[in-house]
């Protein structure tokens, strides 16, 4: 058993406990155990998306696509409205004998704005749903955690979890195969 990398902070300032794993497979197995133990405020950290980890963690599906869909519909509708208003109502002029407003000629821009609105919304949703940018996070206090973006896998159980108990969480993570346990300050 390895010694804790730093002394445990006072209970009041404790953010959670972090454990390190060797492989994506080990992390997935540990995630299943933590999920089954009934924790809710915890997370896995990996250098790349690990397939099957969502299910192992028991995460529900994200509602993000619905937001993007409504943005796409807004984009299409605003493109059609804009073209109809600008060339069909507000500023009518005859060119090449074409109708002032025609649906076929409006489709290319309607398509482009559907894509533009959806893409920008999807991009912003990635930040909003993930609460990014967040330049500080307690895990950044750990020296070893720097390898979470390189080649190591981590799991952290937060002290804010209603079931959290320092000894139990530590025992669970050790039993699940976690090494280099660290208690992190908030």
């Amino acid at each position: 058993m390895d010694a804790p990398a730093r002394p445990m902070p006072p209970r009041r300032a404790l953010w959670g406990v972090l454990a390190e794993f060797d492989s994506a497979a080990a992390l997935t197995r540990a995630a299943q155990q933590v999920r089954d133990a009934g924790y809710t405020r915890w997370d896995c950290y990996s250098p790349f998306p690990v397939h099957g980890l969502d299910r192992a963690m028991g995460l529900s599906d994200t509602r993000l696509p619905w937001v993007v869909l409504s943005a796409g519909i807004t984009g299409a509708a605003s493109a059609i409205l804009m073209q109809w208003w600008m060339n069909g109502v507000d500023y009518r002029f005859v060119i090449s004998g074409k109708p002032f407003f025609g649906l076929p000629a409006s489709i290319p821009i309607a398509f482009e704005l559907t894509v533009l609105f959806s893409a920008i919304t999807a991009f912003l949703c990635m930040f909003a749903f993930n609460r990014l940018p967040q330049l500080y996070h307690p895990t950044f206090r750990s020296e070893r955690f720097r390898r979470a973006t390189n080649d190591r896998f981590f799991l952290a159980v937060e002290a804010a979890d209603p079931r959290f108990d320092v000894e139990q969480a530590e025992a669970l993570l050790r039993e699940a195969g976690g090494t280099h346990l660290e208690w992190l300050e908030d």
């Binding site: 482009e112 533009l116 955690f145």
Partner: protein, 476 residues
């Protein structure tokens, strides 16, 4: 062991590894990140950057000359009112398309090999679209009124003409640029976090830290991230097809013989992918060699790209043939003349350069030996890029120089200003690209790791040396 290093086998029962060289996650990080962390790049980088920067200066000087003197410095005149400006625009937009194809379409088709090349193919897209965007911007004569292309409320109470494909182009290209940029940046966030965590100096920590927006590889984040990535890929796929279709509408909706054809949208899209892949290879072959990335951008990656070029080159050849067939079968005398004039008229030399470079040169890719010889393939790609530039020249100039009325026929010749502007746009492209390889991880590390066999969460406990085994690679 030797065979494990050759991943170009065609045996379908053995899955080819996408990363060679007994790699683990750490070595992938090390190999890619160190390139952006070197205190000083090699001397060749400085030379290339100096040349590119000088050419970018030339571009700036030519644009300044154009603005201060007027469009008369170009060789445009009646009847050829469009030439190098629009040729270069279509050429550069087309180059960009391969990047989106690799990042989006191959992603939807679950082509895992894209991970080795997608980052810099996407970068290439963005730089190519920047080069493309310059030309319509500067060709309008009164450049200070270019904002009229946008539907902005103004004191004249006028709106742009939405019935014109030129305006569709404004929307298509600016959407394309925006979406490509978002896709590129979002794909880079995990890798920027890697650079942040490896940073040794305060400045690098701060800069990469800000750019990485606090990414920490959280799985709750990855879930949303992957979903957004999928959505962006699904949006970019029809987008890339639409962009070059809309570019082709600029021609196809006009009444000029040789332009007014329904074949244009698919033919333009295939041509764009064809020359875009040639440009990716043109950049990938020297990059993998000079930066030691042969294990990540493997021969198999190059071979796959060569196969795509062979296929799209055949589509282009077919389109050239069908254009002639329809010109004859359609029975329209002007259309008929336009095509005979292309092949035998005063610009016949450009037509035959186009055919030899685009149809004949890629036939070399039937040979596996050529497909897997990087520098030979590189040479073929140079010809393909020349050929595709000439394709746009042929389409635009031959049709405009001789249309319906023989009394208004004319001959177009580019001036030195146009030639220098074209050269300068290459300078800008390479300047941006060299900055990119200097400061940004040029292979998508997180994505490469995710397609390595060790990434499989359902794999049995790893045994030493297992990952070097040639059949092990996740493909889904």
């Amino acid at each position: 062991m030797a065979e494990a290093w050759d991943n170009t086998s065609d045996d379908p029962t053995r899955r080819a590894p996408l990363v060679l060289g007994a790699a683990d996650f750490g070595s992938v990080t090390q190999k890619v990140a160190q390139l952006a962390e070197r205190p000083k790049p090699p001397r060749a980088w400085y030379i290339a950057f100096g040349v590119s920067l000088a050419l970018t200066g030339l571009l700036g000087a030519m644009i300044l000359y154009l603005f201060t003197t007027g469009v008369g410095v170009w060789g445009l005149n009646s009847p050829v009112g469009w030439a190098f400006d629009i040729i270069n625009f279509v050429f550069w937009v087309g180059i960009g398309h391969a990047g989106t194809l690799i990042s989006a379409i191959l992603f939807l088709f679950r082509q895992s090999w894209r991970t080795g090349i997608n980052r810099f193919a996407e970068a290439m897209t963005i730089f190519a679209v920047i080069c493309a965007g310059i030309f319509p911007g500067i060709h309008v004569g009164r450049v200070w009124l270019i904002y009229w292309v946008f539907p902005l409320p103004n004191q004249m109470n006028m709106w742009p003409n939405f019935r014109s494909p030129l305006l569709w182009d404004v929307f298509a290209v600016s959407t394309y640029f925006t979406v490509s940029l978002l896709f590129w940046y979002m794909g880079m966030i995990p890798d920027l976090a890697t650079l942040r965590d490896r940073a040794t100096s305060r400045v690098r920590q701060l800069v990469y830290g800000m750019l990485a927006v606090g990414w920490r590889g959280s799985n709750r984040h990855w879930q949303n991230y992957e979903r957004v990535y999928l959505i962006l890929a699904a949006l970019a796929t029809p987008l890339v097809l639409s962009v070059h279709s809309v570019v082709s509408f600029d021609f196809a909706t006009s009444m000029v013989p040789g332009w007014h054809t329904t074949i244009f949208p698919p033919y333009f899209v295939a041509g764009a992918i064809f020359c875009g892949f040639a440009m990716v290879l043109l950049l990938a072959v020297p990059a993998r060699q000079w930066f030691g990335l042969e294990d990540l951008i493997t021969l198999r990656h190059l071979e796959n790209m060569n196969k795509i070029m062979l296929a799209t080159g055949m589509i282009i050849g077919y389109a050239y043939f069908i254009e002639f067939f329809i010109a004859w079968y359609g029975g329209n005398a002007y259309e008929h003349f336009a095509f005979v004039n292309r092949a035998l008229g005063p610009y016949a030399w450009s037509y035959w350069i186009m055919v030899s470079c685009n149809v004949i040169a890629p036939q070399l890719f039937w040979s596996k030996r050529i497909r897997t010889s990087p520098w030979v393939a590189w040479g073929v790609c140079v010809f393909i890029n020349i050929g595709m530039w000439f394709e746009r020249f042929v389409i635009i100039v031959t049709s405009l120089s001789r249309d319906y009325l023989p009394s208004s026929w004319g001959v177009y010749k580019p001036t030195w200003v146009e030639l220098c502007t074209l050269l300068g746009s290459f300078g800008l492209f390479f300047t941006l690209f060299l900055l990119f390889v200097r400061f940004v991880p040029m292979v998508a590390m997180a994505e490469v790791k995710a397609v390595m066999p060790q990434a499989d969460a359902h794999a049995p406990e790893p045994t030493p040396g297992r990952h070097a085994h040639p059949i092990a690679s996740r493909g889904d």
